[in-house]
Symmetry: C2
Subunit: 241 residues, 2 copies
């Protein structure tokens, strides 16, 4: 899936940063680099900083306008250091990776990084479905552009490793409908065993929903939970006979 | 807690990397830098690459031997690109952050980064309690040293943000002892309601433990779960009368 994710560097001033970004990408398995109107490229400093990732630079696609870099993309995410006047859907690097990876299975995804001094313009940010902010210490937020690429590429790589683990999980996640059915059954049982007073429910169901939503039961675990509730039902009815 | 975590760069060749590492640290709230026998330092290239993080360089402590950099540390973690002949406890960046942050509340922690070409020596790695490996794409694992600092500093910063969120959680995590007591109670109840056959237990308790361990119940949630089991106990005994 990483092969459908492109890194787009917009109007980069220093060729060394382009080289460092290419190296950052390659260490994390990303290979497609778009350069929108780079100030100095190709440039020996870029090759020097890329070290073993010079192939990423050779294959880099240079365009004059951002639109050319993203026109075939189904999802566009733009890095942004500050919050905007009009709030935009905002992702952390980890959320971005979780969002981007499944989408990249079906369509092309672009992640945009702006100028060293001023980032992306408002017009460029308005081309994005999501904005992406790397959490920084409030006293100093000036992340180098290649360092930002490194962090995002790292999160994408981590998410892809996690994705591989998920595929090895034995059962799929329970659906939202199954979770809903479980909560309704659980509530009936808790009333039947006199643990939940329907007239004074307090925060009981809320707390239980928060707990089970955190665990994200798989389909087999959901079967077990429903089976336990059914077994209690049976006992409770017998007890009432 | 981040203030008790020091970054130790061992025998760095390029002053630019020291500057970039300082910048990476400062963006993520780390401030203490030790330099063990740097090849060229102080150096204008370091200041240039540090940009707004020159204060980290000015405060950097230069020592001639690794031991001087770590002698007062309660926990020492060393980055390592490859697995060693004698296996050592190994952490991912995320595990490292989870491990380091609570320890840093009580003692000094050092995270070591080796030479650009050859990393840390075996002797240096043997000074470490844990080794730390940043997962890289198998085709190219040559992470720049400042990029490695950026990834680790980012994970530490993320963990410190998460730590702040945890403090806002209403109850502390259930202890391992409480979890154990819950599983024993759950097993007795499942037998009593004829859901678990103790002669043919299959994977039932294993699956339930995996589920509840994933959710990591807090103390209040644990009270609720035990309360539900006690209510079922009551009904089951009444049913048997």
């Amino acid at each position: 899936m990483l092969k459908n994710i492109r890194i787009v560097l917009v109007n980069t001033s220093h060729p060394g940063n382009i080289g460092s970004a290419a190296r950052a990408m390659k260490t994390m398995g990303l290979t497609t680099l778009y350069l929108v109107a780079p100030k100095l490229f190709p440039h020996p400093k870029a090759v020097e900083m890329a070290t073993g990732a010079a192939d990423i630079l050779e294959k880099a696609i240079i365009v004059s306008d951002l639109k050319e870099a993203i026109s075939d993309c189904g999802l566009v995410v733009g890095t942004s250091a500050r919050s905007r006047t009009i709030p935009w859907p905002m992702l952390s690097p980890r959320q971005c990776a979780e969002k981007v990876l499944p989408e990249a299975a079906a369509s092309q995804v672009a992640i945009l990084f702006g100028r060293e001094q001023s980032g992306l313009t408002n017009d460029e940010l308005h081309c994005c479905h999501f904005h992406l902010q790397i959490p920084c210490d409030s006293s100093y937020t000036s992340l180098n552009v290649a360092a930002a690429v490194q962090v995002i590429a790292y999160e994408l790589h981590m998410a892809s490793l996690l994705e591989q683990t998920k595929e090895e999980w034995d059962y799929p996640c329970a659906t939202a409908g199954e979770m809903q059915g479980f909560y309704e059954h659980l509530e009936r049982v808790l009333i039947a065993i006199d643990f939940l007073n329907p007239n004074v429910p307090r925060q009981l169901m809320t707390r239980l929903k928060r707990l089970f939503n955190r665990a994200r039961p798989d389909a087999m675990e959901m079967n077990i939970l429903r089976g336990i509730l059914a077994a209690i039902d049976k006992k409770t009815i017998l007890g009432k006979l």
